[in-house]
Symmetry: C2
Subunit: 209 residues, 2 copies
Amino acid sequence: MSASKQRIADLTGRPLGARALEKRRQILDATRGLLAKRGLRGLRVADIARSVDSSPATFYQYFSSVEDVVLHLAAEANEDLPALLELFQGTWRGKEGQRRARDVVTFFMDYWDVHGPLLRIRNLAADEGDTRFMDLRRAAMEPILLAMVSLMQRNGAAGKDSLMAPRSAALAMSAILDRMAAYHQVVEVSQEDLVTTCAQILFRTLTGK
Amino acid sequence: MSASKQRIADLTGRPLGARALEKRRQILDATRGLLAKRGLRGLRVADIARSVDSSPATFYQYFSSVEDVVLHLAAEANEDLPALLELFQGTWRGKEGQRRARDVVTFFMDYWDVHGPLLRIRNLAADEGDTRFMDLRRAAMEPILLAMVSLMQRNGAAGKDSLMAPRSAALAMSAILDRMAAYHQVVEVSQEDLVTTCAQILFRTLTGK
DNA sequence: TGAATTATCTGACAGATCGTCAGATAATTC
DNA sequence: GAATTATCTGACGATCTGTCAGATAATTCA
């Protein structure tokens, strides 16, 4: 992290000093806050600049657009993901495995509670074909998909007896996790039911029950 | 449909004549096209107005914002859904049931191929808390969820032996269907695998296998 | 027919945003 | 404390938004 920070640069490529890094950080944080409060729609360069007591010109020194800021924020969000991967290790046998499945579900919900506003925009931009956001999403998902596929293979799930292709099943599971994590605040079922049910589906699919 | 068209009105509430209806329709269609081509980002009132050879003032006679147009388009997309509900009837026994599950999956993919650009924005706006879009999404989902829950109950799936709460399971299934339908163009697995796998998960979850 | 009435459209405008400079201001160096 | 470097912003032209009042087109009806 500190090593990568050294490289942070201006849009012209000039490396940033301490003062500039601070301003850049302010812009990132302010964008995150405005995004959570007002959503993508009410998010203008002018608003961001105002909220860090700067002129729009300053904003454009560091970022080329609002989207550009969101891209950097989404990249930062990816840094929280490695902790998730550990949960997929082992073979998920019995009660212990069910607990693991549950931990995965709650991890996603917590993750989306923190980064939801960003991830929604990342997903929209990726779905609309923006390759920068597609790459970012792929970087987030691929290790998770691989971990799921590996777990399924260790457990002999999705084998010859099943019609399920492991990678497709992993994609389906990540779809549940993403969407449910995005929903869970709003939806009219108990949190407990939702977690238990998703964990159960996850467990069955990844272990072959 | 024709009955509801009669009621279409100006933003001031004045009912529209034939010429005005035609212009309004042009605006809706143009928005749909621009949305598919350029995504939410490159979608301005000025662009829409230009593409129907009108001034922005004309646009504002019919819609209060770009979002407003999208809202109407998303409402229209809901009209294609009732056909889906029929697939959930019966008990989904054996091969016939598996075929039904597959039909549901392909229905969603076709539906998203047609309406994806709209549905993505609907979901984003709903997730960001816009109640108009939330209501629209609920109107689309609720009958599907009910049909799934009903099917599960008919099949004794998600009963006492299972940890799954029927409505939560239905939510999880709709998450898969939505997300996979949105993905399937982009994702690096064969279409066939994806459909078969999703259909299998759906079948197992809704019938209790 | 053509004048009156109604329906629809747009020019023009004020306010705001975007993105880009060149030059002002602040920090650091020597 | 003057020179150098780093950072910030005022000001600008182009564009957009949203709203009128008035122009234009369609319809009615004498």
